[in-house]
Subunit: 459 residues, 3 copies
């Protein structure tokens, strides 16, 4: 299944080499260790080792890291013939995006005397930004070349950093777990990109756009890891102490409640009451997305559970009823259904965050107010903070959609080796493995060769 | 394979919704942040952030969380056609059980002024209680509907909390890693339930009650995660400092010794010397179970290794010789062999704990005695503590067996949609996937369609 | 496929029991809790619980543990019919090696008053030493019996401890992440063993010495876990504070850069530009190996990225061009290509470490010099430290090659049940599973029975 247009032999190496060499040069010029990773700086002042931020954040960082590489990577392996690409392209674009994000985020909010200072917190932020790119990847999964994905990642990371800067640094928005900055942004950016890349003849690859038993099992590895570590995700960069602790707790209960409503809705919306793996793999995670903004606030476990409960319901309904409409009417071909897992639950999370902020009182937050809402602690009104949160959602949606529009058109340029409509959702275009495509697909014996992709070697 | 009796369309959604709404209401009325998660409370007193319990326990919590959702979930995927249910029902009942456990455990030993205070320690305890339910799930695996499992979880969590309260709060038993409270309780409860649910015609589903190559590989993911993180499990709620450290160390060596005796016994008991995956997947973990009570004590690495060594031997012998007897003579159909992994090693762990407690001296424990054995530090006799430990095993067995008896009869009510004898160990009753059951089973071509469960979509 | 020579019924149990009983006796005589795990010792002095080394190192330890058991274990499951053995023998020899390593390493550098003191740091060191054995396992994968592997592990652990002692304790070498002590040593030891065990007729098993689609997916689980947790590996035993923090950071960027150069080279060296899973699974990790020595130094993110970038290129080139030459000309049958992942990148890491050490200045390290280069802080010359580093590489290579030579000949003794040339890379010799070998292999229906290994039970 080699084809001159999808042949990556020059395109991919050139793209990777140019990007990496630019990264290395920019790191050489701009990046240096921060106060906590630099040998001389750390030893200048007199502190105990356990005060190093490493011990507060590194375990959370590693959980986030697992979500990015195992969680997102394996969640997308549900397609029957796209496992190599799901994990493999996820790996490639994440490895690129985290380096580029270090520069972009550092440029916007980590400069000290002309240098970008980095440590564990910037690593977490880079992974967060990468997560947003991977959400967009979910929308275009199976329909793009690795070069297109790298180009998309380059632009998306940049726009992510701009949006994040506007929200966190200019407006003073709170969004520790990224309901807006990560999930809403990544989802609507990706949805707009996939809209621009609309393929009227995608049904020619329809038979591969579904799962088989084992691919669903691999996908569950991704789901469960995302679910388990979401408390770490939402709490990774909140303030130390009660803030990290509370955020993890809120997310834990939000996810648990979301899981029950997901199972209930999945069974209820099937004519024979059978559970649908797509719902379980995705909607059960919506509770983590929806707790992304308010998780660090005094949402209470009670509030967290209500949020998770609603998120699960919305998400299953989206998969069942809204996605087909979006595809038919709006021509949005959303492979993983990111609108249902990240889009709508992200908006729900933003709204919950705005409302929770608007009702914050010193009576509830005490001296912890300065950690959660510094503007209110400095005398600002809670309702003003709530308004800022709501405006931030609008800003995020605007930048995501406009950015996705422009980047979508860039990716349409016929030079990036995107697959033809007939061979989407197929590993063998970009990977060394046996070619099951073409005529044989009607033939059960192909199903076997599909499994035994190097069958030629075997026999 | 839709059948009116196993159709979950109303039963499962109604059960999930009612349970979750009750949980949310009770959380609203009863639950609030504890001192370390509440913004105002934490900032009232003057402590450093690193003193927050989050930093002592959250990494252990996440390891335990992985054991519950990946460890138990994937360990049970060894069945050839029950992967969706193994991971999926594990996910569902664990998400329910951890919420319900928060309430039940809080009710019995976490009330402060009429409110249940929660933080990372209660999250770990909730996961522990959930683990016990999942052990029982292992005994009935493949033979129960998700509604039955939720009902079982509801009762079992309650009884777990009662037993735990009697042991830890009334008797003053030490059982940090839960050899008694978690493993013995969960195993014998589940064994009694499966005894009451005895199916004389289960051999009609016998051909599905075994593994295939790939399902054994998925199950090894569960095994290895349980094995690796068991040191975190046993040490998660011991006292800070040397106690957590020592418990992790003891468990590490107990498991390593257990692994060698498991491999030795597995090969020795096979006529051709070949290793049996069932033993490796399960018996190699018995060292963690058996170190659950004494792990926090001054068991020494030497003692830990002896315990693990014996646990592996007992467990393989159980799988090989005892399980068939239990099934034939006592009509106990124990799908996962929980008696061999959790039952007997749990009892061994309880006995080791009693003996180790009975020989505790101030000479060995020094000022650390108050953390490990507060009753002895307060002047009690070590032999008395040993006696308490032994009594606790009896109490646990009594409550587990009696509780399992009653709950077994409740689950027998013909309204929960349990599968017929002919279609046990089969995903397609409760999940959207191709139906391999019925006539085709004799036909090799079915084996293929079994793999390609959405074959209809494919072709 | 039972054969008297490969029958493990007596050989394996006897080996396991003897080894474990020796271990238990030696632990009883020699090993005791260290100051931080002993109840009396810890409570003698007046320190806060958070000063216990457990909180500095246990999260890193668990990440390393995952790399050893999941990372190495699953990485090697890429072979189509060797999944049980890859994960299962990895499990067995690791469980043995970590106990034996505790004794050997303790004997050489952990003795206090005739006793080996153990805690979390010795657990990490034991896992490190085990990692070295597993690298060698990769070289001989598919061609050795479990008894041979245990014997190899016993000798290799001993030699590892000798080499480590010479480097770290006598010479004063710095090698926190083990570019030399772990990777170079394990790779060249294994390469020499596999050279001595050269099988001229191995092509009779050639059809099994390759991957299939699903086995490559399982292998990616191993790859991604190794990749994600390598920052924890390299930083696990560096000094507390900035050192651990900086090492993790350096490794993170080295790996990211390595991933991009790996993808570029994999596509560039394929005539049709398609990515090769072997490269992605292995070469993308070379950045972690190459940052093993210099990771704790002030390498800068810039330097780390250059190192990772080069490591990826070298590693892919090795797989593509050097491995076939080594096999043909030097008769080195390196199943996993450990020379490309651990050998050459390990040497690169050693050289980078020597150069980085040679240019160390107080201006850059400040008061942190005593943690990174105690000899320089004490007045030694940086160039001298650099020389020591270079000599250490030579010593490591010498001990590894000589050790591998001797151990290879020991393993050649015809009493350990090694598989015949016709049935290498095959689980069914040592595991209970259906036998696909023999005539049927030409027959597609075998491919199915290969999947459904307990087919006899099924039908």
């Amino acid at each position: 299944m080699t084809d001159s247009t999808t042949n990556m032999r020059l395109k991919l190496p050139i793209t990777c080499f140019i990007l990496e060499i630019i990264l290395i040069i920019l790191f050489g010029v701009l990046v240096q260790y921060d106060h906590e990773t630099d040998s001389r700086e750390w030893h200048k002042s007199n502190h105990s080792d356990y005060e190093n931020d490493f011990y507060y954040r590194y375990p959370s960082f590693q959980d986030v890291h697992v979500m990015i590489f195992i969680g997102f990577g394996f969640l997308m392996t549900f397609l029957q013939r796209y496992g190599f690409s799901s994990v493999g392209f996820n790996f490639l674009i994440a490895a690129f995006a985290l380096q580029w994000a270090t520069l972009m985020q550092g440029f916007f909010h980590g400069m000290h005397g002309g240098k970008i200072h980095i440590g564990v917190e910037s690593m977490i932020n880079a992974d967060f930004c990468t997560g947003s790119v991977l959400i967009s990847f979910g929308a275009v999964l199976g329909k793009t070349s690795p070069v297109q994905l790298l180009i998309m990642a380059m632009f998306e990371v940049t726009l992510f950093a701009v949006n994040e800067f506007i929200l966190l640094s200019i407006l003073g928005t709170k969004d520790a777990g990224g309901s807006m900055t990560i999930h809403t942004f990544g989802a609507y950016f990706g949805l707009m990109v996939t809209r621009i890349l609309y393929r009227p003849n995608l049904d020619k690859s329809k038979h591969r756009n579904s799962s088989v038993y084992h691919s669903d099992m691999f996908a569950m590895i991704g789901t469960i890891y995302l679910w388990m570590f979401w408390p770490s995700f939402n709490s990774a960069i909140t303030a130390h102490g009660d803030d990290q602790h509370r955020t993890a707790l809120n997310t834990y209960y939000s996810l648990a409640a979301c899981t029950l409503s997901t199972y209930a809705m999945s069974s209820l919306t099937a004519h024979d009451g059978k559970l649908d793996m797509v719902h379980i793999q995705n909607a059960a995670l919506a509770g983590g997305v929806a707790a992304g903004t308010a998780g660090e606030m005094m949402l209470t476990p009670f509030g967290s559970m209500i949020v998770g409960f609603l998120a699960g319901i919305i998400s299953v309904l989206g998969f069942k009823y809204l996605s087909p409409i979006l595809e038919e009417k709006l021509k949005i071909q959303d492979t993983c259904g990111v609108h249902n897992l990240h889009g709508m639950p992200g908006i729900l999370g933003a709204i919950v965050g705005a409302v929770t902020a608007a009702v914050a009182t010193t009576d509830v937050y005490g001296n912890g107010m300065k950690d959660v809402f510094p503007m209110i602690a400095d005398g600002g009104k809670a309702s003003y903070q709530g308004g800022i949160q709501a405006i931030s959602l609008a800003v995020t949606l605007g930048i995501a959609l406009l950015g996705g529009l422009i980047v979508g058109f860039i990716l349409k340029l016929p030079i990036f080796g995107q697959p033809p409509d007939t061979i989407c959702f197929e590993d063998s275009i970009y990977w060394e493995c046996d070619q099951p495509g073409g005529l044989q697909e009607q033939d059960p014996s192909w199903l076997m060769s599909g499994l035994f992709t190097k069958r030629a070697d075997v026999i």
